[in-house]
Symmetry: C2
Subunit: 195 residues, 2 copies
């Protein structure tokens, strides 16, 4: 399209790759498509990313990092830890549900990418449980949460709410009654957390 203009950067390639994935889906998005979208030869793309897998992995990481970033603000706040925990999960659930509901095809695309790059997902989960650990530690410090090991507890809290953030449950997120189920699980977990 654009014959030549700005210098070819990793960021521009990632942007174009996201667009190609959105348009063609994970199965038909090729490196040649990405290069064409940028008006360069596919050899140039390989100058910035060693393999197609590395390129897709970078796109996946960027996508997951956007979610982490939007939650980190809640961790930084200084209010009631229980309320912050509740807000954190509500925000996460809402964000995932909207991503999945607003553009199911794109979400399905990212689910494929996530399946391809488990190391990135592991890092992302470590990131999120790290945020939870901070909130749990804060709660313990203030004497509102009981936990011998905040990191272990944070992980347990994360695992217990999996139904409301793990993509393997996407289908359930549109089901009626899911909000009540969310409240029930979060309520149960928060009760278990209190001193």
């Amino acid at each position: 399209m654009a014959p030549t203009s700005e210098p070819l950067t990793a960021a521009r390639i990632l942007e174009a790759t996201e667009e190609v994935l959105r348009r063609h889906g994970p199965a038909k998005a090729t490196v040649v498509d990405v290069a064409r979208a940028l008006g360069v030869s596919h050899g140039s793309v390989y100058r910035h990313f060693r393999t197609k897998a590395a390129l897709r992995e970078a796109v996946t990481e960027r996508w997951l990092d956007r979610t982490s970033a939007s939650l980190s603000g809640i961790v930084a706040e200084d209010g009631d830890p229980e309320a912050r925990l509740r807000t954190w999960f509500t925000t996460l659930f809402e964000a995932k549900r909207h991503k999945a509901g607003d553009d199911p095809e794109l979400f399905a695309t990212y689910m494929v990418l996530i399946g391809e790059h488990s190391a990135v997902v592991d890092r992302h989960i470590a990131d999120l449980t790290g945020q939870l650990t901070t909130i749990v530690e804060d709660g313990v410090r203030r004497g509102v949460f009981a936990s011998a090991s905040p990191a272990v507890t944070a992980r347990a809290v994360f695992d217990a709410t999996g139904r409301f953030h793990d993509p393997c449950y996407v289908r359930d997120w549109e089901q009626p009654g899911i909000d009540d189920e969310f409240e029930a699980v979060v309520g149960l977990v928060l009760r278990g957390l209190r001193v």
Copy 2:
């Protein structure tokens, strides 16, 4: 194989279908294979099951029902509800983990079947949460559990422990540390359940 002998019953067809699925996997198990294993024509199989899907559904249901049955004993016991709940989940997790670990291919086969027959799975989940509801009600009656609605609470407890019984997490079940994570989640949930 066996030219003719006992009368052809639904039970014998289900048995043979399980065997064919075990041998050939879900993709290559055909109705003709099942008929051949029984020494009959495939038309006879269609006399007992309207479609291939119905046959596979029946096999799936039988498989899931075996799990439910093995847990119902724990529900019927009359000990400490908290201990029973713990035993119930430990038994479920152990059973699933062994099924998955001992014969991964067969487990993968059943995962495919489960994906094909969500109505059967829904029934199975209703069955299991029903068992949990009985234990929770018992705990409330004895004054050890707090719950405004045992059915809702039971469902929340079931959802919160999904990581240790939902097949979408099979991979995690072999990971080191999974037992600690199980303990952490079950501990958290039981704390949340206590008065």
